[in-house]
């Protein structure tokens, strides 16, 4: 990752005065925040190297989901933190489904925000450190390669978001045994699971849907209720 992107963040939010406040606050915390006052500008700016994009859902003209779709469709895999309205379960589910990495309900406390940003950035740095190790996993007709950041199921290349990729990697590394939700959360989002936090379940559900497009009814990931998830090693144990 180029050094110029270090600690550079992009905020896509129509609330300009909030943006300025955040700029000032995050500077104290050691981040440089660029502002995009609307979705179109946001999509343009997102092309540059950012460590993280903060994306507000409620925006006039083009809402956060559309912006998210555009960014992900262009192949940009920068971690995205969605800023959703509190209590709106649908917003979270939709955001994660469209490829956001995590969400933070509004209004958030400044502490929560910085904690989330740090967690996601820390997670992507671990990725960067992992990269030279070049892990290749080949299990149950699923092929995962950390160098190229690609997944093939039945030799078909599938598109995954960074978070989904990490979830799959964590599950495949422990294939055959249960990975509890908290460990999965730390591996994928860089933070422990919170109360009433279903984001990891959403990411797993997205993973399953995408794999099912190719593998059909052959389940690769099994739910162990109350504990976590398990990657099925082969046809023998299903």
């Amino acid at each position: 990752m180029p050094t110029q992107s270090k600690n550079r963040l992009l905020l896509i939010d129509d609330d300009k005065s909030l943006g300025q406040l955040l700029q000032e606050y995050l500077e104290i915390e050691g981040f440089r925040l660029d502002l995009a006052p609307n979705g179109a500008t946001g999509i343009q700016k997102a092309d540059k190297q950012y460590e993280l994009i903060l994306l507000d859902v409620m925006m006039p003209d083009m809402n956060g989901f559309e912006v998210l779709k555009h960014i992900r469709q262009s192949g940009n895999k920068t971690p995205i933190l969605m800023l959703t309205a509190k209590g709106d379960e649908m917003d979270r589910v939709l955001g994660l489904e469209l490829g956001a990495d995590d969400y933070l309900p509004k209004p958030y406390s400044h502490r929560e925000l910085v904690a989330r940003i740090r967690a996601l950035i820390r997670r992507s740095h671990i990725d960067a450190d992992d990269a030279p190790k070049h892990i290749q996993l080949d299990l149950n007709s699923v092929h995962l390669d950390t160098a190229t950041h690609t997944v093939k199921v039945n030799d078909v290349l599938l598109e995954f978001t960074t978070t989904e990729f990490r979830v799959l990697q964590a599950l495949m590394q422990e294939a055959g045994s249960v990975v509890d939700k908290n460990a999965l959360n730390i591996a994928a989002l860089g933070r422990p699971i919170e109360l009433y936090d279903r984001s990891i379940d959403m990411h797993v559900s997205n993973l399953r849907k995408k794999i099912a497009q190719v593998a059909g009814d052959d389940p690769k990931i099994r739910t162990i209720r109350g504990v976590g998830y398990l990657f099925v090693t082969g046809a023998s144990d299903s």
Binding site: D15, L18, L21, Y25, K86, G87, K106, P107
Partner: protein, 479 residues
């Protein structure tokens, strides 16, 4: 209520269709019967039918008998005829051209128009009057004077079948069916649009605000048509009002939260920049801001719930699964403050409702318990099945090991913004239990609080067993 509904379904006169149908049908039958009586009592042209050969033979043989009697007895024959008439099944009358009855007692006056009708015939014919069957004329000559013979039988008489009585019963049957059919159509034409109205208003009441009665009604020119147009107009207004309210809710949510977010971030800057003396007071501002946000969130949640409950989609919910997950999550939260949440399942319990709503209701009760239970104690969730007034119910008991509440305050716990303990730093907005009551009541359930004998508060939620309510039927007897 139950009995009345049952009666209505079993007895047609409790429905509008039945009422109109039966009244109209009965009244048309009554009119027919009265008309029949009136017409029969008033003189009317009699229906004459042709007799069969046997009947003609009967008439001719009676005529010969009169001739024989006259040959034998002369003028005394008439007295003999009267004598015979009293004994025989068939009576014979001798009349002259002017319909004067000779010798025998006169038949009732009312029958004379019929007799006059018969006399005008060239061929013998049959006519009926009440239950009497008359036949004639057969012309004879006695001492050079022309006379006519008429004979009379009673309807049961096999020799003279009830020709016109038979056709009358057929006519009556046809009239019965026809008037029944017409009454049915009339009644249906009233009850069908009403049924349409009923379906539409039911849908509307269930929260489907785009419901309209449809063109088949609004295009009508009668009163149903104008009622239909008024109904649709009302539904339009209702839909506009509700959607405006929902828009307002969304806007309020966004507009109120933006400044709070800004305050939060500004506070972050202030805390970083201010010296340690100011930090305490800034933290205090932060706590109050968080509380403000929590309250806004709960008020909004309450109104969202109310909206959602307008259109309650009841499904079978596995209560054990719901409680297990809820207890798992709550336990996780409670651990941070050295408290536990323990769920003890018992048997399989299915309830009817919207699982997200039920989840949030029970969750609020459990969170309340976590807030008040002492450190190193647990909030216990248990369930049991019970039968109350013939209805199968599921009881969920959430018990904490805290201070409980004064007896006279127990009922007030479910009021919005009410706090039994004046504790302003616990982060509660005082809406959790009132949300729970809203949801439970809306599901046909019941929620109450009581102090446990050995300390702590016990909140009891009773919900209908899903088997008992028979799925999503809103008219279920246990509702």
């Amino acid at each position: 209520m139950k009995l009345r509904r049952l009666l209505a379904s079993a007895t047609p006169w409790h429905t509008l269709f039945g009422k109109i149908f039966l009244w109209f049908w009965l009244s048309s039958l009554l009119i027919m019967a009265i008309t029949n009586v009136v017409v029969k009592s008033v003189n009317k042209p009699f229906q004459l039918t042709e007799p069969t050969d046997i009947q003609v033979t009967t008439l001719v043989s009676h005529a010969h008998r009169v001739l024989d009697l006259y040959d034998l007895y002369g003028e005394d024959a008439f007295a003999e005829l009267a004598h015979l008439n009293e004994r025989e099944r068939i009576q014979v009358y001798l009349v002259d051209e002017n319909l004067t009855v000779i010798g025998t007692p006169r038949p009732p006056r009312a029958v004379f128009p019929l007799l006059a009708g018969l006399l005008n015939q060239e061929q013998p014919m049959i006519g009926t009057w009440q239950r009497e069957i008359w036949m004639g004329p057969a012309s004879i000559e006695l001492s050079g004077h022309p006379f006519h013979i008429l004979i009379r039988g009673i309807a049961e008489d096999a020799d003279l079948p009830m020709a016109s009585s038979y056709s009358e019963s057929v006519i009556f049957a046809i009239a019965l069916i026809l008037s029944g059919l017409l009454s049915g159509i009339l009644a249906w034409s009233f009850s069908r649009p009403l049924k349409q109205f009923r379906l539409a208003s039911q849908k509307l009441a269930n929260g489907n605000l785009s419901t309209r009665v449809g063109q088949s009604l609004t295009n009508r020119l009668d009163e149903f048509g104008s009622l239909g147009r008024d109904f649709d107009h009302m539904a339009d207004r209702l839909q506009n009002l509700v959607s405006a309210q929902q828009r307002l809710l969304g806007n309020v949510s966004h507009e109120l939260r933006s400044p709070i977010t800004r305050i939060q971030v500004a506070l972050g800057i202030a805390i970083q920049k201010a010296g340690p003396e100011a930090e305490n007071i800034l933290m205090r501002i932060e706590r109050e801001t968080i509380k403000l946000e929590v309250m806004i969130a709960q008020v909004l949640r309450l109104s969202r719930l109310e909206n959602q409950m307008q259109d309650l989609q009841k499904k079978r919910v596995d209560l054990n699964q719901l409680l297990e997950q809820l207890a798992d999550d709550a336990h996780f939260e409670a651990q941070a403050s050295h408290k536990q949440v323990v769920f003890t399942p018992s048997g399989n319990n299915w309830v009817c409702g919207e699982s997200t709503l039920l989840h949030s209701a029970i969750e609020n009760v459990v969170r309340n318990g976590i807030r008040f239970t002492e450190e190193n104690t647990s909030v216990d969730i248990s369930t049991r099945a019970l039968t109350f007034e013939g209805c199968k119910k599921v009881e969920i008991v959430v018990r904490d090991h805290g201070p409980g509440a004064p007896e006279d305050m127990l009922e007030r716990l479910f009021e919005p913004f009410y706090r039994a303990v004046d504790n302003t730093s616990d982060g509660g907005a005082g809406l959790g239990l009132s949300i729970a009551r809203q949801v439970v009541t809306r599901h046909g359930g019941f929620i109450s609080a009581r102090n446990h004998l050995s300390g702590g508060l016990e909140v009891v939620i009773q919900l209908l067993d899903c088997e008992a309510t028979g799925g999503s039927d809103a008219d279920a007897p246990c509702q």
